[in-house]
């Protein structure tokens, strides 16, 4: 089954590469990263932080946009164009199709992130900004966040329209980065609101965990055990989402 999953992934990857949106986003990301050189010229003081801050934020933001806007079409496009009819009638379980599509986008994101990171590395090199191990740790966790976001987009796209999937996924991305603030907010509210916010806090992904920008910029260490815990959290969360998506996908009718 692994071979068949891989066939679907590679086919999906090839399909993703034809998305014009992908290239537009990639160009914007590279422009953003490049623009940090200009901004650093008009900055007084430590421009290293600025370049790292803008660079990492761009990789994260544009990665997420690709994950969402390509991710929401992964399944719905196959259903709309009826290409799914020829796949589901083949001797493969439905979850294999779903996993294949997921990993197809993960491969796409890997290629895109590589291009963006390469762009940032060139800027860092040109501007003489030291490149640390922490920088690569941070990139690793950004990629893990993209894997979680892709799983969220895929889950929504198994049961709702592309537009709604995009809105929901974007919403989860925003709330996921604010869930720490939410918990703080809850402390000031009555018990019922507190209980509700706590449920939201634990159910939605805590995406701030994947954000090491502060550590990179200020040179704060992020230990191996913290790293291991965060990686486990990311994989577990994405895995659960894929499981849920598979269960929904297994039950639905393809009209």
């Amino acid at each position: 089954m692994i071979g068949r999953t891989l066939s679907i992934s590679l086919n999906s990857f090839r399909e993703n590469l034809r998305e014009k949106l992908l290239y537009n986003l990639l160009i914007f990301a590279l422009l953003m990263i490049g623009s940090s050189i200009l901004l650093s010229r008009i900055t007084i003081g430590d421009y290293h932080r600025l370049i790292l801050d803008i660079g990492l934020a761009s990789i994260n933001l544009f990665g997420v946009l690709i994950a969402i806007f390509v991710g929401i079409g992964l399944v719905s496009k196959e259903i709309d164009r009826k290409t799914i009819y020829t796949i589901v009638s083949k001797p493969i379980p439905r979850y294999v199709f779903l996993l294949g599509k997921y990993f197809g986008l993960v491969i796409t994101l890997l290629a895109n992130t590589a291009v963006m990171v390469l762009g940032l590395l060139v800027v860092l090199y040109v501007m003489d900004v030291p490149i640390t191990g922490l920088f690569f740790q941070s990139i690793g966790l950004i990629f893990l966040e993209l894997m979680v976001i892709t799983a969220v987009a895929l889950l929504f796209s198994t049961f709702t329209s592309s537009t709604l999937s995009a809105i929901f996924t974007l919403g989860i991305y925003v709330i996921g980065h604010m869930s720490g603030d939410l918990k703080e907010l809850a402390k000031k509210l009555d018990e019922i609101s507190q209980a509700i916010i706590n449920v939201v806090y634990y159910v939605l992904p805590n995406l701030e965990r994947f954000n090491l920008k502060g550590h990179v910029i200020h040179g704060l260490d992020f230990g191996a055990s913290d790293m291991a815990l965060t990686i486990s959290y990311g994989f577990a969360y994405a895995g659960l989402l894929l499981l849920l998506a598979s269960i929904i996908f297994q039950r639905r009718d393809f009209q």
Partner: protein, 316 residues
């Protein structure tokens, strides 16, 4: 034929859909019982919206029946082993249009877990079989509708299936394209495959099928051998075309005919049944007119189809 294995069977298959905001129930399929035997070409006929595609989608595991059961190769639908023995062409298929003919077939070969050399051999054979060897390295988006239909059939045959299910394989094709698909179906039958196809083009079905079933509004209204069904529905008539009959001659034969159509010097006489044929010929000879043609009109599948559809619609 009666003793051969049943490889596709449905029992009281029923499917309802919810439509609209309030979830109004619409019945697409109402208690369908079907049996397709090994080695036959089975036509699944019915007007648009009769539930043909719904049935095929249930059989292919794309949608789930509301109630009832279905089996392929004796196993409940959805079984992966029976799917491996099956080939399916959906209605007006859309494919991954950025793939070339060969890449497209390789993708489906991979989904069956076929080994590289086997897939390569099958790709060559199939492109040859469907007459698409020239399109091996052409992207699907450059294909014409007929070419897409043919590569779609090649896709359905990549695993050398025992049962080939085709949804409206002739629709949207020109007469040449239809003939090619018909020939292909006959070639598959010769190779021992079982073919189950849906269609609303009766002429094709009449030429191809061992047995047909007619579905109207989700219900089966007829099932059997084409010859038996047509025999039951036949309304024999004979058309006689004559030249130079003249008004006297015309007056002589008119009482024996059902309808007379005069075009210039020629007259087309429609006789009900065969009883009066000799008498009419005798009078034509007497009038010294020239007999151009005499054509017995047998009942066709279309007559049966139209009658069943009308009856069903009339009931409501």
């Amino acid at each position: 034929m009666a003793t051969s294995t049943i490889i596709l069977k449905t029992e009281a298959l029923r499917k309802t859909f919810k439509v609209g905001f309030w979830g109004r129930q619409v019945t697409a399929l109402e208690g369908l019982d079907l049996e397709v035997r090994q080695g036959e070409v089975f036509g699944f006929l019915g007007p648009n919206g009769a539930g043909k595609t719904t049935t095929l989608k249930i059989l292919m595991g794309l949608i789930y029946p509301t109630s009832g059961q279905a089996w392929l190769f004796g196993k409940p639908i959805g079984d992966l082993d029976s799917k491996a023995r099956l080939g399916f062409l959906p209605e007006s298929p859309y494919f991954y249009d950025y793939l070339t003919g060969a890449e497209f077939l390789r993708f489906y070969g991979d989904l069956f877990g076929l080994s590289g050399p086997v897939v390569n051999r099958r790709i060559g054979e199939l492109l040859e079989l469907v007459g698409m060897a020239h399109a091996r390295d052409l992207q699907l988006r450059k294909f014409s509708k007929g070419m897409l239909q043919r590569i779609g059939i090649a896709q359905a045959l990549i695993n050398d299936p025992e049962l080939v299910v085709l949804d409206e394989p002739m629709s949207g094709l020109d007469p040449i394209g239809r003939k090619e698909i018909r020939d292909l179906i006959l070639r598959l039958k010769e190779a021992g495959k079982t073919i189950f196809f849906s269609s609303h083009i009766l002429h094709d079905a009449e030429m191809l099928c061992d047995r047909v079933s007619i579905l109207v509004k989700g219900r089966l209204v007829a099932m059997g051998r084409v010859s038996d069904l047509i025999g039951a529905a036949s309304t024999h008539s004979v058309e006689v075309l004559v030249e130079g009959l003249g008004s006297d001659g015309l007056a002589q034969v008119k009482p024996l005919t059902e309808k007379v159509t005069v075009t210039g010097d020629r007259a087309l006489l429609t006789l009900k049944g065969q009883q009066s044929v000799n008498e009419v010929l005798e009078r034509i000879r007497t009038a010294k007119a020239k007999l151009i043609s005499l054509t017995p009109q047998n009942g066709s599948l279309e007559d049966l189809f139209m009658r069943e559809v009308r009856e069903q619609r009339g009931e409501e």
